[in-house]
Amino acid sequence: MSTPVSATAESEGGSPPTRSLSPGGGPQTQPQAPHRWGTAARRFVRHPAGSAGLVLTFLMVAAGLLAEVISPGDPFRTVADPLLPPSGNHLMGTDNLGRDVFNAVIHGARTSMVVVLAVTAIASVVGLAVGVVAGYRGGWTDDLLMRITELFQSVPRFFLAVLIVALFGAELDILIYVLALTSWPTLARVSRAEVLSVRDREYVEAARSIGASDRRIVLRHVMPNVLPTAMVVIALTGSRVILLEASLSFIGLGDPTVMSWGYLVNNAQRFLRIAWWMSVFPGMAIAVAVLGINLMSDALNDVLAAYSKAAPRRLRKRRLS
């Protein structure tokens, strides 16, 4: 989404500020390709938001990957009396069917992780491909690809997902495809705008004049400039996807064969008064996962923006210290 216009209008060259996407409080500048990725990475890790984000996200990913190890056993099984408060045996208590909430939350992490990784992978590949090709080629290719992008952006995600799940079935695959198909347009637009801003720069001209192939130019010169913004957008897409998946499960459209945080929060509704742990722990899990990714995206934005030449000196100094 670019200023000053909405999703339906053209983006007239120039990089769209990412402030409308990111909750980040960084300066109003574009992330640029760092001179040295290693240094950038180090700065990222030292950045308070970056390190916090890394930790939280790592927690979620670890929980997801190691679900069977940390908390073995079917989370849908009744293992104890219902509605037990948190205790030594059941760290997060049990729900109305006597299922262990901790077990359920850990397995919910796995579902979220799978969905996020799959969706961002697909959306990144498609979005980058479409955006870079459209931006680089220009002309009717650009027009065509942008029309297609608009098509996929025209319908609001949540309600479309509800309809598609109702029509096609509530399986995880369907959900992943729906979310991926509705997430790539934003990335396409943003990467296209980035490509447009560097396409006519001197060094690209230079490369072309010495006979470098398009592919080489794209890979060596264009992509490094697209990637920073793209990474920020991908991270934000990821956090949005977690919330979307949770919301769909909350209204009962999640995959019933896998445990999901949204399902847990929905189940907790009836027992809110007598079993607060059924709502609080899964809800916190969602918040932690989303927060982690958002923090990382913030930090990314800050770190990479510091390399921007457009940043006012005063603020830039602040960022780098």
Binding site: F76, T78, L83, G98, G252, Q269, R270, F271, L272, R273
Partner: protein
């Protein structure tokens, strides 16, 4: 001669008790059926009742659906109601006489009862209600009186006669506003299709004789106000009633505790203790609700699936295996939270003369379930059973079945069972449905493998149990014989028991019949549900024996 005498004696006792009032008879769970108010009832105030869903229609005569009944019964009456002592008491009918061994019942209607639109109630309205609404569409009426071949006559405006070819014992228990509400002929006779809202707009603008009449019906609530011409003088005390839609039971309770509403019909199990301890609230256990009384939650096996759907449960061993795989005790504890009991027999134990004890119901035994499945040809292949040599099921078909139920406890059971069935290799998919969807899928198209139904048996097996196993009740009518169980032996026994005038002899017939059922297992009889209701302690005068008309004589202190 002796037979005539016995039936006459039976009828006389019922008549006598109807007129006598309190005689201290034993009614199940009669706790709190009448509150004695120290002062005279306060006139005025509005009672706010929570309901779980927008009922869609406000005509209780064309359905046995609990939601519609809960929302609309207070606007209507039956011929014979329930007194606070649990015995039949005159309502629209002032008095009645049983003639000819119980083959004819003659009712005299009250004088001067008016419909909400001012017209007078006549016997033609009663005849119309039965012939055009209740017998065709109300599942319990159709199954019981309908199968018994009742005919209704209205020889003069104040007389209605019910005639049966064989003596019919339970009639008086079936004439209350839940089982047989009376609707006005002049309002409903012009409807294209009286059972739908599209075919009958009057279904959203009900006209009845009840203590309350409709003010407005929105998606949020149903507002009713006092019927000033109600036939019981001085009643109702309340100015009005409001039925507020609150889908979540937990939220209903919060709203009650927060004083936003006054009455919750179903207190979820885990909350009961807390609610009882709350001084500003009262609780009561009602023997019957708007869906009927003595309800047994049952799982129907689809014994007559449509073409294209495998007959998973055609083989008795598959049904037995399912029974053995299900831990009814655990399901009862976690889903019903100990309210009610695990069903000890097919007929609800709230009908003591007909219910049975010591029946040989399959117990929870996972190994036995697995063995039976193996024997029936369902081989375990990687955790899921696959058909290898099962009759009428193509080889290679996995044992993947669906479970249809309403939102709430029914689907919660499903989730619980899903885990239990997974242990024996049966994959269960839980499908949550709304009432019309459920009716269409299960009874109309028979497009299901298992479906949960709360069958309310009423106060006599004829009323609500018969329709579940009578082969002549296999029909598209919702809440009829869902399993499509057909056994001529059982049909004969049902007929015998219905026309047996000696109550002492009916019991053994029912017992013998239940032994056959326990052998055939057309259903899984899960639990007998008991619901605790809670209400604002400032309000009193409720008749908990009554279903929709519980608030007829209620009043709320300010």
């Amino acid at each position: 001669m002796k037979r005539q005498l016995t039936v006459a004696a039976l009828a006389f006792t019922m008549l006598a008790s109807a007129c006598a009032g309190d005689d201290g008879a034993d009614t199940p769970d009669a706790q709190g059926t009448t509150e004695t108010t120290a002062a005279a009832p306060v006139r005025g105030g509005t009672l706010v009742v929570a309901i779980q869903a927008d009922p869609g229609s406000l005509n209780p005569a064309v359905t046995s659906n609990g939601g519609v009944h809960a929302a609309s019964e207070m606007m209507f009456n039956g011929l014979v109601g329930w007194g606070t002592d649990g015995k039949p008491t005159p309502e629209l009918a002032e008095r009645w006489v049983v003639e000819g061994n119980g083959t004819a019942y003659r009712f005299t209607l009250r004088q001067g009862v008016k419909w909400h639109d001012g017209r007078d109630l006549t016997a033609d309205d009663v005849k119309f209600s039965f012939e055009k609404a209740l017998l065709p569409f109300h599942a319990r009426t159709k199954a019981s009186m309908g199968s018994a071949g009742v005919t209704i006559e209205a020889p003069d405006p104040r007389t209605v006669i019910f005639r049966f070819p064989e003596p019919y014992a339970p009639l008086l228990q079936q004439l209350n506003v839940t089982e047989a509400p009376i609707i006005p002929q002049h309002v409903y006779e012009g409807c294209a299709d009286i059972s739908t809202v599209a075919g009958c707009p009057a279904n959203k603008q009900p006209v009845g004789t009840g203590p309350f009449k409709l003010d407005s019906y929105t998606i949020q609530e149903i507002r009713m106000s006092r019927n000033p011409d109600y036939f019981r003088p001085g009643l109702p005390h309340l100015d009005g009633m409001v039925q507020r839609v609150i889908p979540d039971l937990g939220t209903q309770l919060l709203a009650l505790e927060n004083k936003e509403i006054d009455w919750v019909t179903t207190v979820p199990g885990p909350d009961v203790e807390r609610v009882k301890a709350n001084r500003s609230l009262e609780t009561a256990i009602a023997p019957r609700g708007s869906g009927g009384g003595n309800c047994t939650l049952s799982v129907a096996f689809n014994l007559r699936p449509p073409a294209g759907r495998p007959g998973f449960f055609a083989d008795l061993r598959a049904r037995q295996a399912f029974w053995h795989a299900v831990n009814r005790e655990q399901a009862f504890r976690t889903v019903s939270f100990g309210q009610g009991k695990v069903a000890p027999s097919p007929i609800n134990s709230g009908i003591p003369f007909a219910a049975a004890t010591g029946l040989n119901l399959p117990n929870f035994d996972v190994n036995r379930a697995k063995t039976l499945l193996d024997q029936a040809g369902w081989k375990d292949e990687g955790g899921v059973r696959v058909a290898r040599g099962v009759e009428n099921v193509p080889d290679g078909t996995p044992f993947e079945i669906d479970w249809h139920g309403f939102v709430g406890d029914q689907t919660t059971y499903g989730e619980q069972l899903r885990g239990q069935l997974r242990d024996v290799g049966i994959a269960l998919e839980v499908k949550t449905e709304d009432n019309p969807t459920f009716a269409a899928t299960v009874f109309n198209r028979r497009d299901f493998d298992t479906a949960v139904v709360s069958y309310c048996h009423g106060d006599d097996p004829e009323i609500g149990f018969r329709r579940t196993v009578d082969s002549r009740q296999i029909s598209p009518t919702p809440f009829s014989n869902g399993a499509a169980y057909s056994n001529p032996e059982v049909d004969t026994m049902l007929d015998r028991a219905a026309s047996e005038p000696d109550p002492a002899r009916r019991g053994p017939i029912y017992r013998e019949m239940q032994e056959i059922l326990v052998r055939d297992l057309p259903y899984v009889w899960l639990t007998e549900s008991v619901t605790t209701r809670a209400y604002n302690a400032d309000c009193s005068g409720f008749n908990h024996q009554n279903t929709g008309l519980f608030a007829e004589a209620a009043s709320c202190r300010k």
